[in-house]
Amino acid sequence: MKKGHASYLMLVYGLAILVVTLLLAALMFSARNPFSGKEEIRVNSDVEVDLLNYVRTPLDIDGQSFTMADLIVYSYYKKDFSKVEEYTKNLLNPVYKDMCAYTITYFTPDFDFHVVNNIDDIGKDIDTAEISILGLNEEVINVMVTQIC
């Protein structure tokens, strides 16, 4: 083999290995490394804080100061959630507008009631949060919010 030819081959092989190495490095350090085994983490903190604020919202009902949680407890015993639905929609619909859809479910082992806002589901990312409210005899009433933005 001629001296010039051998030198040319070394240059070509060197460049080829360099390119492969750089591709490997790019793959390894890329943000979406398919081999790193990272799991997608859903952060529900926004919807959790929204739910806490929702149940703590002060309400004035016929001149009496209550919170949304009190109204839910009262409605649970009365088996009538119409006031909860009215106050929830008045409270949340102006905030969510047409940006997000939400469903709030109130449930115990005995019953299940939903309040849904007036728009269709508009996205794929579903966030949920759940909180327990105590009844007057320590019964647990669960409130779950599902939010789609």
Binding site: L24, S36, D70, Y77, K78, L134, N137
Partner: protein, 236 residues
């Protein structure tokens, strides 16, 4: 200066060397059990768990606040309906009103309220006092623990409360003392106490209504009732 052959050789050696290093790192990155990968994986989880810990602790505080409020509703209702005693008191009753005689039946309003609250609350309370018609207390702190392979979160929050008792204990104490003083001086109660009351069969019936918020009470069904403080005294 290297000649043409030397530069080709140098590039090849450099490339092979770099390849060996990068390939070794790549093999390490494929192994999920390495410290670096575990840290990288836990890194996001820690931030999520911190937020989750806050939510769990706040939810517990919220439940605790509700338990206090419901216990205050029950306490104020029973306390007010029974002239500052629990419903199983041994005082004389007249038309459903507990008769205060300022001797055997002369309630220590603050102490009785606190005892009745403890009965309804049913959990250990570190400190408890009545001040300006508010019940102030401290409970066991709320804590939430979450352990991961590479993290250990311990979220602690103090659990203090300040709950309006929804009756004016200060006024009721003053009124009771005024009634006692009027009776001792044998003065006409109507002119002396300055508070309206009903009279029947030689007894004066006081019903002190409160213009504050209602109590949510479970009787045959759930009711919102105005808190009242009722008692009677002999006035003959």
């Amino acid at each position: 200066m290297l000649n043409k052959k030397g530069s080709g050789m140098l590039l090849l050696l450099f490339s092979v060397g770099l390849f060996i290093v990068i390939a070794a790192l790549f093999m390490v990155s494929l192994n999920p059990d390495t410290d670096a990968n575990k840290f990288s994986k836990d890194f996001g989880i820690v931030q999520t768990e911190i937020s989750s810990s806050y939510y769990h602790a706040e939810s517990e505080l919220f439940k605790s606040d509700q338990r206090v409020k419901h216990s205050v509703y029950k306490t104020t209702n029973e306390f007010g309906e029974n002239g500052g005693f629990s419903k199983d008191n041994l005082c004389v009753k007249k038309d459903g009103f507990v008769v205060i005689d300022f001797k055997d039946c002369n309630p220590d309003l603050n102490a009785n309220y606190i005892e009745l609250f403890k009965k309804y609350f049913g959990k250990e309370v570190k400190t408890l006092e009545l001040s300006d018609n508010y019940l102030l207390g401290e409970l066991e702190e709320v804590s939430y623990n979450k352990k991961g392979e590479y993290f250990d979160i311990e979220y602690k929050a103090p659990n203090k409360f300040k709950q309006d008792v929804l009756i004016d204990l200060k006024f009721i104490n003053e009124l009771r003392n005024r009634v006692n003083s009027c009776l001792e001086r044998k003065q006409d109660l109507k002119e002396c106490v300055g508070v309206d009351f009903a009279e029947k069969d030689g007894y004066a019936f006081f019903t002190i209504e409160n213009d504050k918020n209602g109590l949510m009470i479970l009787e045959d069904e759930v009711v919102i009732k105005k808190p009242v403080f009722k008692f009677a005294v002999k006035n003959d």
